[in-house]
Amino acid sequence: MKAPSFRYVRARSLQHAYQVLQHHNGDAVAIAGGQSLMAGLNLRLSGPKVLVDIGGLPELSGMDCGGKEVRIGALTRHVEVLRSKALQERIPLLPQAVSHVAHAAIRNRGTLGGSLAYADPAAELPACAVALDATIVVGGLEGEREVKATDFFTGLMDTNLKPGELILAVRFPVPPPHTRFAFDEFTRRQGDFAVVGLAVTALVGGDQIETARAVYFGCVDRAKLAEQVSSALCGLKLPVADRGAIRNAVTKDLEPDDTPGWRAETKLRLAQVLTQRIVSRLAESGTQ
């Protein structure tokens, strides 16, 4: 369990990072918190020739919670999201989700940008980015561009990032005051990657769901809007009496695979159970 040898470059500036990444094309990888990357290296699952450490770049830090949107720098550690009072007030889904991310030691090092770039289908934050309709700010030698989270995750651990590009920040629109959030996951142990997880944002008027965005993780290949479930939620009166439609929508949205210990049908069942519970919670969260 020793990583294969690699060259380590500490980026002096964004431009420097872009240049090194671009120069080595696919053989260079950016390292931020290293919480997934280092484990992968030690398991010899990947063998990049160069690691570009972006940990010292001030452009990637900081959180701006002042305006109509919240901008969170890519290097923001999970623990900062977890403890942010502003986020707890304005986008409580994020700290709530982060409380499920691994363990304290990992949350102290792992970063928002890293989690999104790694695009683990079982990770919490990519799902939240899609549920919150976030926009991902990407930079490279050719300049900056913005990608909607819904377009960013393109496949299993695959993203819209091109070689040489970095995530700079994530912009989250601040949801209107009558938005309700619900988040939960099934994990075997506290802090494990989810077998099935779900993040939901819903605009609720009176006792009726006006619009909803539901995003699953753990039982999908990537973070994407669960369209059937999202639209099945729209127009529903809380608390939801007939759950049959939601259960059917789950079956249409999800096509999980068999994995050791979990048949696809079991994951589907768990997704249905979780969805029902989360919908119940949407009703409860309005009574606070």
């Binding site: 020793k2 294969p4 040898s5 010899r44 099934f186 142990r189 494990d192 210990g261 079991t266 979780l274």
Partner: protein, 799 residues
């Protein structure tokens, strides 16, 4: 006997005190020294190329590229190393019919499990050795594998060792009384099949050793993360042909053993062979991936159990059949019969019946070897017996606690021998159960359970009675032919300043055994605990001994320490009497002072006694014989083991929609005889419980039907962490062992055995409303959901 023990305890302070482990500050502040912390001059690092297949022929091995890789000093195959070492044979001579073929260090023509080492790459660093290992090319011809215990005797399946004819390693039957008649006459018969998946000990510190062969004098020093340096001294000497006085095995700090580091590993002997070949120290530390593939595995059994019960609720007979998939070879020295033998000899042990039939078969499969792991086969016996006991109680219509009380062997019926051959003498089933029922407020808990069921909350209460074989004696290993010492010993010396230094043959992997030894020494000599230093782990300096296994530290090693302490005390008193010109009868030692027995007044300090003893012998009578270093060994010559016992309870909630289980509480009432250190005893029980919970709810080596391990990291092999465990409450009944003066029994495995039983019973109790059972460990959510879907009432859970 008891009198003298009590007298020696009368003025005691250290025994019975909750003293934290003496090495705690050192280890917790990062000052420990484990094998991988140790660097020797000119030391090389070894990495293995292992078989990626469960069963495959080796067509060719190409090492040229690896030999040329940076830092590489040698690339060794079986052709290089196997001839240096007498093959390992794991046959138990006391078990007629037991078979195991010889095992070489490295596979040459055929690999028989995924992970079997084939090539050893030795380089300047471990990273370079791993890099070079990737350059070794082995051409494989994969063969079909046999993997499941129930498949191993299927004639259509492959045979692991063709020379044996089939995969049967061992077959043993017990037949007591007339079981068939008892079952024919029974009012109720409950039965089921129980599946225990494979698991691992998963020590915090993986296995590791540094073998340092010195060509200058032909000596071999091995720094080894191992529970028994003596066993390994013997093994290295015998198998590598080095005179025993030139072999020394040192066990430094060890981060957990759990029996796994007691086993004998061909790949560890190969490290010593590599050092002999290269004339340089060679380090090999298993990384976590190798732990999964090459640490001794455990469990992997299928058992069928039946229990016959009368209409009045008396257990009248039991039948047990066990199939164990023990891996590709017999585990050398420790064999592969122990799990199955314990399962069938200990099933039903607490209960009062005499008709019993049982059979165990050990079977070779294309998987890693099964070796010793905490609890060995005792959890099978506990689970099977207690799950059936609960069902029998339900069949009769009796409360499970009442059923147990009724069926335990009555108070006053001891000593007696169970149908499985366990000699019960100082057990306390009734006392433990009474205490547990109070501790958990059983009646209230049942009421809560019933009330919550009305709300659709499904909780279960599980009670499990267990018997723990501790401190195996010479009657077991002696006839087996294995050179396993069941004695332990202690050297003890008064230092010139009046403090004591002790070297014990017992070893400590985190249990706190050495702290307990110091407590026993302190009291048996009469000095403060702080004045006793204890060292261990050097096969060359203490009396010969067994080390740590079968929960024997206090029971055997403690008894040896008590003997040494008494010898030294007597010698000190003799010397003090000579110095002070009084009679020995007038003197006693307490608090590190020689005192007058009658007045309690200090007569002379141990420092002053030692000063004369070491530096001013000229002041003593010419023929006075000063002996301030003593040695004492102890073995329980006639004793198979000391039986400890206890009862545990679990309270669980099953989420019947998702299949997830939440453990709400765990309680243990344990009887391990005389308790030397209550704090450390409780920690043993708690740690064992954590592993028992892990076994039932989480841990599983998931093999594909083809024999490939599918979860080889700690991400997907689930070891419970602190946050996944409930509060654990531990209480005791203290029934001293009568065969020793100290009266201590073992406690190392109690927690695990009882916890497995209690969690099994509690989860099944929670599922009672669904008229279904779960009998496949671990209880994953999917298995729970499958169990519920088998519910005859198909109880609607919202789906």
């Amino acid at each position: 006997m008891a009198d003298s023990a009590d007298k020696s305890r009368s003025s005691q302070k250290a025994i019975g005190a909750s003293i934290p482990r003496s090495e705690l500050t050192r280890l917790m502040s990062g000052k420990g020294r484990y094998v991988d912390d140790i660097k020797l001059p000119r030391m090389l690092h070894l990495a293995y190329v292992r078989s990626p297949h469960p069963h495959a022929r080796i067509i060719s091995i190409r090492i040229d590229e690896a030999l040329g890789a940076p830092g590489v000093e040698a690339v060794l195959t079986g052709d290089d190393l196997n001839p240096m070492c007498k093959p390992l044979v794991g046959v138990a001579l006391h078990r007629p019919g037991h078979r195991s073929p010889p095992q070489s260090l490295l596979a040459t023509e055929r690999a028989v499990w995924q992970g079997q080492p084939v090539v050893a790459v030795v380089a300047l660093t471990r990273a370079e050795a791993e890099d070079a290992a990737e350059q070794v090319t082995i051409q494989w011809d994969p063969l079909r594998a046999v993997t499941h215990p129930l498949d191993a005797l299927d004639k259509s399946k492959p045979v692991v060792h063709p020379e044996l004819g089939d995969n049967l390693a061992f077959d043993f039957t017990i037949n007591k009384g007339d079981t068939d008649k008892a079952f024919a006459e029974a009012a109720f018969v409950v039965e089921d099949q129980f599946r225990f998946e494979r698991q691992l000990a998963m020590t915090l510190e993986p296995r590791g050793l540094i073998a340092d062969f010195n060509p200058g004098d032909g000596s071999l020093t091995v720094i080894h993360s191992h529970q028994s340096p003596f066993q390994m001294q013997d093994v290295f000497s015998q198998h590598l042909g080095i005179a025993e006085h030139k072999v020394k095995v040192l066990a430094p700090d060890i981060g957990g053993g759990f029996g796994m580091k007691l086993n004998l590993y061909a790949e560890e002997l190969a490290v010593a062979a590599a050092s002999m070949r290269l004339g340089r120290p060679v380090k090999y530390c298993a990384d976590r991936l190798e732990s999964f593939l090459a640490d001794a595995h455990a469990r992997d059994h299928v058992l069928t159990g039946r229990m016959a019960v009368s209409s009045a609720g008396d257990i009248t007979a039991m039948e047990v059949e066990d199939f164990g998939a023990v891996g590709a070879y017999g585990m050398p020295l420790r064999f592969n019969v122990a799990e199955g033998m314990m399962a069938i000899t200990m099933s039903g042990a607490p209960y009062n019946f005499s008709d019993y039939k049982a059979r165990t078969r050990s079977l070779y499969v294309n998987k890693n070897l099964v070796g010793m792991y905490r609890g060995v086969g005792m959890p099978f016996a506990c689970v099977l017996t207690e799950v059936l006991a609960d069902r029998a109680a339900r069949a009769v219509g009796m409360d499970p606690v009442e059923f147990r009380r009724r069926n335990y062997r009555p108070r006053g019926s001891y000593p007696c021998v169970t149908p499985g051959g366990q000699k019960l003498e100082t057990v306390s089933f009734h006392e433990c159960l009474d205490k547990l029922v109070k501790l958990i407020d059983y009646d209230e808990l049942r009421k809560e359970q019933q009330a919550l069921r009305q709300e659709g909350i499904y909780r279960g209460i599980g009670i499990a009675t267990f018997v723990e074989q501790t401190a195996y004696g010479p009657p077991y290993y002696g006839p087996s032919g294995a050179r396993i010492s069941t004695q332990d010993g202690c050297n003890l010396r008064l230092e010139p300043s009046g403090v004591l230094r002790c070297v014990t043959s017992i070893t400590d992997q985190g249990q706190g055994t050495l702290t307990g030894i110091a407590q026993i020494i302190a009291d048996s000599v009469g000095v403060p605990y702080a004045d006793v230093g204890v060292m261990a782990g050097d096969s060359s300096i203490s009396p010969y001994g067994g080390g740590a296994w079968a929960s024997r530290g206090m029971a055997i090693g403690g008894e040896a320490a008590l003997g040494a302490g008494r010898k030294l005390r007597a010698n000190i008193l003799d010397l003090a009497a000579a110095i002070t010109q009084t009679s020995v009868e007038q003197l006693d030692i307490t608090g590190g002072q020689v005192v007058n027995t009658k007045t309690g007044m200090a007569v002379i300090s141990l420092a002053d006694v030692a000063k004369v003893g070491y530096f001013r012998q000229d002041t003593l009578p010419a023929d006075f014989d000063v002996q301030l270093s003593v040695s004492h060994s102890f073995a329980a010559n006639a004793q198979m083991c000391y039986l400890a016992n206890g009862v545990q309870a679990s309270y669980v909630e099953v989420d019947v929609e998702s299949g997830f289980i939440k453990l709400l509480g765990q309680w243990a009432v344990d009887d391990c005889g005389r308790i030397i250190n209550p704090l450390l005893v409780d920690e043993q029980v708690r740690g064992g419980i954590a592993q028992g919970i892990g076994a039932v709810l989480f841990e599983e080596c998931m093999y594909s039907p083809e024999g490939y391990l599918q979860n080889g990291t700690l991400v997907d092999y689930l070891v419970p962490m602190a946050g996944d465990l409930p509060d654990i409450f531990v209480e005791h009944v203290e029934t001293p062992e009568t065969a020793t003066e100290l009266g201590a029994k073992g406690v190392g495995e109690a927690g695990l055995i009882g916890a497995m039983g209690a969690v099994w019973v509690s989860v099944n109790d929670a599922l009672v409303p669904f008229e279904t059972v779960i009998t496949h460990q671990p209880f994953s959510p999917e298995r729970i959901l499958d169990a519920i879907s088998r519910s005859p009432g198909a109880l609607n859970t919202g789906h």
